[in-house]
Each structure stands twice: as C-alpha cells, then as structure tokens.
C-alpha cells in the first residue's frame, strides 16, 4: 500500500485533501499501467483522470480500506476497457488520418533524432502492441496485468472477482494466441533473415 488506511478512511468520509493525497500517491503507477494497457501515450492522462473520477464517486462503496488497491485496479481495468472499446468503435488510426507524405516526413524527422536505444524501445513497443492486438480487449488487459505489470493470480482474483481456475483458463488461452502470433513473427523474421520468400526468389 502506498498510503495509510486512515487516509483512505478520511477520503471515504468526504475529505477532499485526503483524496488529493491518494491521487498523488497512486497517479504515476496508474498512468503507467494505463499506458502499457492502452498503448496510446496521448490518451493516458485522460483515461487516468477518468479512473480517479470514478474512484471519487465510488469511494463510499468501498467496504474496507484493505481492498483499496484491487478496487483501484478494477476501476483502471474498466476505464481502460471502455477506452479500448470506444477506440475500436471509432476505428480510427492517427496515422491513417495523415497523408502518406506527412507520415514519411514525420518518420524521417523522428528517425534523425532517435538514438539506437530509442529505436529499439519503439520496436519493442510496436511488437508488444501488435501481439496484444491479437486478443480481445478484455484479454489484452488481463494479459498485460499478469505478464507486464506482474500481478499475481491472487491479486488478479481480487481485481476480477472470479476464481483462480477461471482466470488461469482465460490467461492460458490468451497467451496461446499471443504465442502463436509471436511464433509466426519469429518465423517470418527468420525467413526474412535467411533471404527466403523475397521477391527475387519468386522469379
């Protein structure tokens, strides 16, 4: 716990300054989780504010301060899920809004400034996001919490309020799908490295 139970009790009873302290203690962690879950840095703060807004108006429903963290994670999961669902409905892509020339210019400008480390990180992010894109929004969030955030099954059980076995099954299926996509990616990279399947070979 990043805050004392007493602070949560005070916030529950309507003390705004206590609530402010709770937000300050948890905001960075929550923003990190959201950032890795939704994969869109420009919308992270917006979703984060939504989480704390929901927390503010649901704090009186919290039974005991002991379950505060799973409760906060639950709100985070729900807000991230709502965001991802909205995004899917809109089916908009920031890059697709730009013309091809704009994209090339943006890439060139960014590429000129990027260091190797930055490029590698970007590649990892793109790979992880494309792999996590292979599963549903619910499974993407669950997998991120387990594999990236490092939450244990016990903690996930509290967040999702379902039994451990049901979680295990869902996680296994989601992971298998990601693993399959990862294997296909690895194979295609190996094939590309070996120079197979290129346009020259087809002649």
């Amino acid at each position: 716990m990043l805050v004392e139970f007493e602070l949560i009790e005070r916030a529950r009873s309507g003390d705004d300054s206590a609530f402010n302290q709770i937000v300050q203690a948890y905001r960075k962690r929550i923003l990190g989780t959201i950032s890795r879950t939704i994969g869109r840095p420009e919308d992270v703060e917006d979703v984060g504010q939504e989480v704390f807004l929901r927390l503010y108006y649901s704090l009186d429903q919290l039974r005991t301060p002991e379950v505060f963290e799973p409760w906060l994670y639950r709100l985070t999961v729900n807000a991230a899920y709502d965001y991802l669902r909205r995004q899917r409905r809109r089916q908009e892509s920031r890059m697709s809004d730009l013309s091809e020339q704009q994209v090339m210019l943006a890439d060139a400008a960014a590429g000129g400034k990027r260091r190797d480390e930055e490029q590698r990180r970007t590649k990892i992010r793109e790979l992880a996001e494309s792999l996590l894109g292979q599963v549903s929004e619910e499974d993407r969030i669950l997998l991120t919490l387990k594999e990236v955030e490092g939450l244990s099954l016990k903690e996930l059980e509290k967040v999702y309020r379902v039994n451990e076995n049901a979680l295990k099954v869902r996680l296994f299926r989601a992971r298998q799908r990601v693993l399959k996509a990862f294997g296909a990616q690895e194979n295609s990279e190996a094939v590309a490295k070996a120079g197979l399947g290129s346009a020259d070979d087809s002649e």
Partner: protein, 110 residues
C-alpha cells in the same frame, strides 16, 4: 530441436519480450495539468448530478401543483354541487329510499 524444446524457447522469448516491453514503457510523469483537470472533471460531474436532481425536483413540484389545481378546479366543485353531500346521513337515506318507503306503506305490512 524437437517441438517441445521449440515451444519452451518461444515461451521464454515471449516472457523476455514482455519484460522488455515493461522497461520500454516506464511509468510516465503526470503533467502539471493532471490534478487541476481531474478536479475540474469531478466538479463538472457534481454539477451535472445536482442539475439532474434539480430537474427531477422541479418536475415533481410541477406535477404536484398541476394535481392540486386539478383537484381544486374539477373535483371539489363537483362534490360541493352534489345535494347528497349537503344533507345529513338520514336525509340522504330518506331521499334515496323514499319511493320504496311509500310503496311499503301503501302495500301495508304483510
């Protein structure tokens, strides 16, 4: 390399990829506007909720006033104009059953 070994290797690579992804996406620093914007949203929601309740309350008051006017304008005059309501219970009973009573008297008691 057999299939199982390949799967294990892929599994380990995926774990490593997730760990690298975690490092590639550190927790972002909140902007200076984060807290003010959050409180603004909380306040906006509060105002919205209050205005919803206010609309409800106004609707209830209007409905009550309309019902009161209806009762006052339609039902009360109707009740007052009814002669039965002005008479005493015995008078009302007599006027209701007077013809039966005369018939009964004319026919005599059997």
């Amino acid at each position: 390399m057999d299939r199982m070994q390949q799967d294990d290797k892929l599994d380990a690579q995926l774990n490593a990829m997730f760990a690298e992804y975690r490092m590639a996406c550190p927790d972002p620093e909140p902007s200076a506007d984060f807290m003010p914007a959050m409180w603004k949203r909380i306040e906006a929601r509060r105002v919205q909720t209050v205005s919803v309740f206010r609309h409800w309350a106004q609707a209830c008051v209007l409905a009550t006033v309309a019902l009161t006017v209806l009762i006052g304008a339609v039902l009360i005059p109707r009740l007052q104009s009814d002669p039965a309501s002005n008479a005493s219970y015995v008078e009302a009973l007599v006027s209701e059953h007077s013809s039966d009573y005369i018939q009964m008297l004319a026919g005599g008691v059997r």
